[in-house]
């Protein structure tokens, strides 16, 4: 047994930390925040050049074959640095969906392009309010054409291809691959609590599409579990960054003639943030292992990692602002960027009440087994 990353994985982390500290700066994130661009194209290309997009993609499809644990290492750093790029949509969602459910032809055509960053992918499951649920899928595929309205779709306005959950003629949920160039696709940018990540409403009006083979919902379910673990690492990275920032500020900021970090109100608040972050990290580690191991641990491990990380990121982000006091809620300080992202990440794959229910369902089927 070994509950830590390997030497190589630690080196990958150091490389990622160095790159993102240098490039994912407040200045560049705020370009996206202010709507100058929907994402940081230059950063995206550099990330692609480093091979991160293919970290978990087999070499035969142009990937680096580092495996999912390597991807977890990158996810933690991306979360820590708030990198304003469509990494999660293209890698955790679209690429994973193709790996799980794509036809050989689709994999051979698209995976190399996704790995190279030439093609950006997205996944569209939501149709407005509500958590993932096959009953809520109203979009329709018939005769190779897709119609329906999907929102919010992360990076839906950026993506070149979108994999859409829809019903076929026999009412089964399938995954349909749509090229965004096709006619009949109407993207609309959405306003959200975190403008540093693009979100869109996509209207499909009789759009040509390719249906991926196999049971669409089963595949989506598996994609969501994997994405939950990877997102948990982003959330843990974000929580840790908030904690580090708050601790540093509490050491240097003085009030009443003492560093505010010498007041137990601040000390114990940050101790609680530390505890929540460590528990989330440990749950995420187990999820990372469950992603790679056989034995059906993933559903429980993924839901646990998700619930734990969502709570930790939210707590860390809001108490980081609180620790900063007045300047903490000014536009100039970056505290609110973490606060916005924390809430976004906690919602994007479905909210915690739903994931908590998944934890218990997994516990039930485990004890049943």
């Amino acid at each position: 047994m070994n509950f830590d990353f390997s030497e190589e994985q630690h080196q990958l982390r150091d490389q990622a930390r160095r790159f993102l500290t240098e490039h994912s700066t407040s200045k560049r994130i705020r370009q996206v925040l202010d709507g100058v661009a929907p994402y940081d194209r230059a950063m995206w290309q550099e990330i692609a050049a480093m091979g991160w997009l293919g970290a978990a993609v087999p070499e035969e499809y142009g990937g680096a074959g580092l495996g999912h644990i390597g991807l977890c290492v990158l996810a933690e750093e991306l979360g820590r640095s708030l990198a304003p790029v469509p990494f999660s949509s293209s890698v955790y969602l679209a690429t994973e969906a193709l790996l799980i459910a794509g036809s050989e032809a689709q994999k051979e055509e698209l995976l190399p392009k996704l790995v190279a960053g030439e093609v950006i992918g997205a996944l569209a499951w939501a149709e407005g309010n509500g958590n993932p649920n096959p009953k809520r899928i109203m979009a329709r595929v018939s005769g190779g054409r897709l119609s329906g309205v999907k929102w919010p779709v992360p990076d839906g306005g950026i993506a070149d291809i979108v994999i859409v959950a829809a019903r076929d003629d026999s009412d089964r949920v399938v995954l349909a691959l749509v090229r965004m160039g096709a006619s009949g696709v109407h993207p609309e940018a959405l306003e959200t609590v975190d403008p540093t990540r693009e979100q869109a409403k996509l209207t499909f009006d009789n759009v040509p599409c390719e249906v991926l083979p196999g049971d669409g919902w089963a595949a989506l379910d598996q994609v969501l579990d994997r994405a939950a673990v990877l997102t948990a690492f982003e959330q843990v990275g974000l929580a840790q960054m908030c904690l580090d920032t708050a601790v540093a500020f509490a050491m240097e900021r003085h009030a009443f003639g003492r560093p505010i970090g010498s007041f137990q109100a601040i000390k114990h608040k940050l101790a609680d943030v530390y505890v929540a972050t460590e528990l989330a990290r440990s749950n995420a580690y187990y999820g990372a292992w469950a992603m790679t191991a056989s034995g059906g641990e993933l559903p429980l491990a993924a839901a646990s990692a998700r619930v734990s990380a969502t709570d930790a990121a939210w707590l860390a982000a809001k108490e980081n602002i609180q620790t900063h006091g007045g300047i903490g809620f000014t536009w100039e300080m970056d505290c609110h960027l973490y606060y916005r992202r924390a809430k976004l990440l906690g919602l994007t794959l479905g909210s915690n009440p739903w994931w908590k229910d998944r934890v218990v369902s997994a516990l039930e089927s485990r004890n049943a087994a």
Binding site: G128, G257, T330
Partner: protein, 396 residues
């Protein structure tokens, strides 16, 4: 123990109802109260117009001495007025600080002539007041004042910076605390003034908040002149004067921030969770109940404070409870309401987000409400020390 109106109270309530019906717009369902203290010119004009009518009707400063246009009424009548006003869309924030903090401080320390000059216009909304206490380096330590006041003859010269001043850009006058003697310990050596906000040397810059809104300003003072006649309290006694003001701040009756439990109820009525109406979701119901008992508990705690005031008892810092509970509740309700919507909870488009994105906007504003006007931590200290009588923090 009687929550029903007395005959006198009922009569007053009727008077208020008819005044509001003729002078104000009913609030749209689900619209949060306009509590902003930084408003645009049109809203400022509307606020001043309403304030004038309210003063003409004798509904401003209900508890004040008749000499100043008040009614010398028991504080409970203020509660009744506020209860009725809650149903109307009224921009109240503009005058809260002036009438709630500045003028009461003037009444305690200014000369009769000055009061004759200033109380009326403030009451009628003709002149707006702001307060200048906080400074960038001070944080929660209000006494850590660095803005210098130096006296030559009968004139003081002010240099320094204040922060978190709401309404500064359209205020006519302000009250401020300054350091007149840097050589003595922190709480000594402070002197308190009121000043003309249009004086030369004052520069006002809005602070953009995390939510994108700007409810506060930075105010810079460069050789601003204040005549000694505008000093409030003795030289070096500024801290005592400040405490008068701050006590009045805690007395100001706080509105319940929105969304509150009714809004959470409205939301749950509109949506369903995993196929069942949200109102049937046991967890959502428990959350609604938790929030309801907090809201109601605060409401009746405020009423108890008013009763104590009516009996001439000083309410003391119990009023700190209100902001402490409300700020946390606001952040909790906003976040939970978004969770109920699943991934769509992130969306702020008014046409897509339920109830005009009230929950999403509150989420972005909530961190400020846990900090501005006393952080959660300061409020707990106030309760522990001034209510429970526990020792102060060790000073170094």
């Amino acid at each position: 123990m009687d929550f029903d109106d007395t005959a006198e109270e009922a009569a007053f309530r009727a008077e208020v109802k008819s005044f509001l019906a003729t002078n104000a717009e009913p609030k749209k369902r689900g619209a949060p109260p306009s509590r902003s203290r930084n408003v645009g010119p049109e809203e400022l004009a509307r606020a001043k117009k309403f304030q004038a009518a309210k003063a003409a009707a004798g509904l401003v400063g209900l508890t004040w001495a008749k000499a100043w246009g008040g009614r010398e009424a028991a504080p409970i009548f203020q509660v009744i007025y506020n209860q009725e006003e809650e149903a109307y869309a009224i921009p109240r924030g503009v005058f809260e600080i002036g009438l709630g903090m500045c003028i009461p401080t003037m009444m305690a320390y200014a000369t009769p002539d000055q009061l004759k000059r200033f109380v009326g216009p403030a009451l009628r909304g003709e002149e707006v007041w702001c307060q200048l206490f906080s400074e960038p380096s001070g944080g929660s330590d209000v006494a850590a004042v660095r803005t210098r006041a130096e006296k030559n003859g009968d004139t003081w010269t002010i240099n320094g910076q204040k922060i978190w001043t709401s309404g500064a850009q359209f205020s006519d006058f302000g009250i401020m605390v300054t350091r007149s003697d840097p050589t003595v310990p922190k709480h000594m050596g402070l002197t308190f003034f009121f000043l003309d906000m249009k004086s030369p040397g004052i520069e006002i810059r809005p602070i953009k908040q995390a939510s994108g809104a700007s409810h506060f300003n930075e105010v810079f003072f460069t050789d601003v002149k204040i005549p000694d006649s505008q000093r409030l309290g003795a030289v070096g006694q500024g801290w005592r004067v400040s405490l008068t003001t701050l006590m009045n701040e805690r007395l100001a009756i706080g509105d319940t921030p929105r969304p509150d439990v009714e809004d959470l109820l409205d939301l749950c009525r509109q949506i369903d969770l995993d196929g069942e109406p949200a109102m049937q979701n046991v967890a959502a119901r428990e959350k609604i109940a938790d929030m309801h008992v907090r809201s109601q508990g605060l409401k009746y705690t405020r009423f108890r404070t008013m009763t104590a005031l009516s009996r001439g008892q000083t309410p003391g810092p119990e009023s700190s409870i209100g902001k402490l509970v409300n700020a946390a509740k606001l952040q909790d309700i906003a976040s939970y309401g978004m969770d109920l919507l699943g991934s769509a909870g992130m969306v702020m488009n008014k046409d897509l987000a339920p109830m005009n994105a009230m929950f999403q906007e509150a989420l972005l504003g909530a961190p400020a409400s846990r900090i501005a006007g006393g952080t959660d931590e300061i409020l707990r200290n106030i309760i522990a020390e001034r209510v429970l009588g526990l020792p102060g923090d060790i000073r170094v």
